[in-house]
């Protein structure tokens, strides 16, 4: 067996997978294309294992591992897709622009921002769910601050309040100033315990 044959078949399958990932819109079809690419890699691994006559059978064992990892990957990916479908009622990749820049070209869904809760009244949890991603970041960033500055730090307290008011789309910066320092201190101590 010429080694070129499996190598060419796997290269063609990999390119087909690349096309599918780039051209498909449905998330499940993109997952299928990823599986095609993984299979191309598996074919290469088996062919080179046979060619090199590996005594440890590294190629075939790695193929088995890749198959198992692909099964785990597709399970997790489908769980994510189903969670997405539950929240957004769509699995189209073009419509999922919650992480894009707000000033990009005319998204199909309302751009995530302060105006999002008003525009989509059918799913009120979407906008806040979209902000659960960025919300832990300032908390994690301010945790070392609370550690370096002991005691109730009012400087670290307004950050979560700022996030919440922006996500809720109501109130303003006055809410930050009116945040009780006792609650802020309690929050920082709790965060320090978590970290």
């Amino acid at each position: 067996m010429h080694v070129v044959y499996p190598a060419i078949v796997s290269a063609l399958l990999f390119s087909i997978g690349v096309y599918g990932v780039l051209a498909r819109r449905n998330t499940i079809l993109v997952l299928m294309s990823v599986e095609l690419m993984l299979n191309a890699v598996n074919l290469n691994l088996v062919a080179f294992d046979v060619w090199l006559r590996d005594r440890l059978h590294g190629g075939q064992v790695l193929t088995l591992f890749v198959i198992v990892i692909a099964a785990a990957e597709v399970g997790l990916g489908l769980a994510i897709v189903l969670a997405l479908y539950r929240n957004r009622q769509t699995v189209d990749l073009d419509r999922l622009r919650a992480l894009a820049e707000p000033s990009s070209v005319t998204p199909a869904t309302p751009a995530p921002g302060p105006a999002a809760p008003g525009v989509s009244p059918s799913a009120p949890g979407i906008a806040s769910a979209g902000y659960e991603g960025p919300a832990p970041t300032p908390g994690a960033a301010s945790a070392p601050d609370a550690g370096s500055a002991p005691g109730p730090g009012p400087a670290a307290a307004p950050e979560p309040d700022d996030q919440r008011t922006r996500a809720g789309g109501e109130g303003g910066m006055a809410d930050d100033a009116a945040a009780p320092s006792a609650a802020g201190g309690e929050r920082t101590t709790r965060r320090r315990e978590e970290s």
Binding site: S15, L56, V91
Partner: protein, 179 residues
């Protein structure tokens, strides 16, 4: 490894079978990424994976072939079909399965294929291996997994457990994160 290379013009029976199976796999893969029906894409994926399993069999990797049939055809495609069903995908033709950047994707894919095939042909033109059966049987592979690859095997089981728990946590709605 690389002895006297037989001519490409007189293929052996194994090579003919492999090339036919490879053509089936590539054609089914093309249909997976171009069909307009979502369920048909999953079913063409079955054909593609089955042909790949045949390729593994021709390459004397029997155990990998059966694992491929069991896990890919048996589990992954069924999972994908469940995903299609649970996202209420339309049964039948749907026009919006392809996004707008189809031509760019085709250009990128053709460029990738051209580069890969050129490099592969240039690099492995003289590589030839005779196929002797039995080297990829379950006995050989099992003994080498549990002798030489035990630690990756165990780590992989932990990873599977983590993926299982993660999938459960993601897909359940009554588990809330701490706010």
């Amino acid at each position: 490894m690389t002895e006297a290379v037989p001519s490409y013009l007189s293929p052996t029976g194994q090579e003919i079978v492999f090339l036919l199976l490879g053509a089936v796999a590539v054609g089914a893969g093309l249909l997976v990424v171009t069909t307009r029906q979502l369920v048909h894409a999953a079913l063409w994926l079955v054909v593609c994976f089955g042909a790949m399993a045949g390729c593994y069999l021709v390459l004397t990797a029997e155990f990998v072939a059966w694992v491929q049939v069991l896990i890919y055809v048996g589990a992954v495609v069924v999972l994908l079909l469940f995903g299609i069903m649970l996202t209420r995908a339309p049964i039948g033709r749907s026009a919006d399965l392809d996004s707008g950047n189809k031509t760019v994707a085709a250009i990128v894919a053709v460029a990738t294929a051209a580069v890969l095939v050129t490099v592969v042909i240039d690099g492995f033109r003289t590589a030839y291996t005779p196929l002797d059966p039995g080297t990829g049987a379950a006995k050989e592979l099992g003994s080498t997994i549990f002798r030489n690859w035990v630690l990756p095997f165990e780590a992989l089981s932990v990873l599977l457990l983590a993926a299982l728990i993660g999938a459960i946590v993601i897909s359940r709605t009554d588990i809330r994160g701490r706010n």
